[in-house]
Subunit: 276 residues, 2 copies
């Protein structure tokens, strides 16, 4: 056989990896492309809490991992794909936002043997979007997303980024605000931000949005109680323009308006000329 | 009638507003909840480019606006809902990310008469997620989203935010990078960032992702050619850790790894204990 023929023969036996976002939980927030990828998969790889969201069916092998590290999970997916499996690596939310996509490409970078595996990413709704939908329009203006976990970065970097986000007056979405192993960091983050922003800044705790134990809590930076934040909570910290708006039934919505500061022109004539 | 009876009678005639995200374009990226909201609607309100994405059907009135301002569109939606319509206010992408959700709540804030209208937000996939799925994992770490439009904020605020994002070493997603009326600002933004970040920083132009005219372009901050950026482009600027990874068929992926700087522990044991 020529090299090209060998390559072709190998290629026919290689499966694929789809890195699939399951969204926050409810079926209405699962993209059709993700549902299709799950339907095509022969193997599911992921953290057990996400793998169990995908219904069992004949022909689908579920490789749920508990406390194994993400990079091992990614390598496992490549090994399965090299053996011919169509692997769905599943993450909650969007795999590109603090989830499995980065781990998969880190594994690819580390081992040239994985380069024969086709990889695709199927996006999903992230927690910040689910929270925003329930709260109104907290991210109506420039915003940033910061993971408070210091498992993979020094805590000093987290503090530096909080300070930069305050300096830029971004609305902040704080992922991974607390866990059993890191119960104190969200309190430290609030303390840090209280020195940099108005204590009247609106803050929201959006817990398990879209799931049965969903809970929303509106407060301010000055009064934010870190003990109410757990591992299922997304914390939103407003900009200097963020405020609350009263709606139907007395419901309070969180709004960061589109306008910021003093601008010469009143309203644009062609604003929605852009991709979204 | 008592006040309560009047209120109840009025309430039965009030419709609702659903602020619906259509995603980037393809059917596979439209959430089921959004499809359901469009199915229930009696009236569609939105920019014409988005309204025409929703198929016509009997019983659906389409109120497409061209260059009318967003706040007028939001007021129109409330007027229709007060008259009993079930209104879907449609945006491309996620209505919460530089789109119609903020305008709807600004209209609600400005007119107490609108408080009787039930409002809900139906999220959607945003351009940054579509771009990330095609590029690999550019947002694998902390990131921010900045609109370069100075229609509703002073250009000095844009520059300040770019500087803050560079100071925090965030990956940046730049929305609204250019338009017919603002062809030069993306070039000014690149110049500004070149003074603050390495010119070797990976940059991606993700144009019309998910649509027939999709086009991806990988470059660096030093070589980024602003003339290639148009109104349908999302621009991604990496952090100091962002790099390219070679994959199947020679494809180059953009990766911002999960790890940042020097951390004491190698790998966490419980990282995915959080909402996504």
């Amino acid at each position: 056989m020529t090299v090209a023929e060998v390559a072709a023969a190998v290629a026919t036996h290689v499966g694929e990896i789809a890195v699939v976002g399951l969204g926050p939980g409810p079926a209405g927030w699962l993209l059709p492309e993700a549902a299709d990828a799950l339907e095509l998969a022969t193997d599911l790889v992921g953290y057990v809490a996400y793998v169990v969201r995908v219904p069992e069916r004949p022909g689908l092998l579920r490789h749920a991992s508990d406390n194994r590290v993400e990079i091992d999970r990614a390598r496992h997916a490549f090994q399965l794909a090299l053996a011919g499996s169509r692997v769905a690596v599943v993450s909650g939310g969007d795999p590109g936002v603090f989830a499995m996509a980065a781990a998969v490409f880190e594994a690819l970078e580390a081992d040239p043997a994985y380069r024969s595996v086709p990889v695709r990413v199927v996006p999903g709704l992230s927690a910040l979007q689910a929270a925003a939908a329930r709260l109104g329009a907290p991210f109506g203006h420039d915003f940033c997303a910061i993971s408070l976990s210091d498992n993979l970065k020094p805590w000093a970097v987290v503090l530096r980024r909080l300070a930069a986000a305050a300096e830029g007056d971004f609305v902040m979405a704080l992922y991974n605000p607390a866990s059993r192993a890191r119960p104190l960091q969200i309190g430290q983050a609030f303390d840090h931000l209280r020195g940099l922003k108005s204590v009247a800044t609106p803050v929201a705790f959006a817990r398990a949005v879209g799931r049965p134990d969903e809970r929303l809590h509106l407060t301010t930076l000055g009064e934010a109680d870190a003990s109410l934040v757990d591992m299922a909570t997304l914390v939103i910290v407003g900009s200097s323009e963020t405020r609350l708006v009263r709606g139907q039934g007395g419901r309070r919505w969180m709004l960061t308006p589109r306008r910021y500061g003093v601008v010469p022109s009143a309203e644009p004539q062609h604003r929605e000329d852009v991709p979204r």
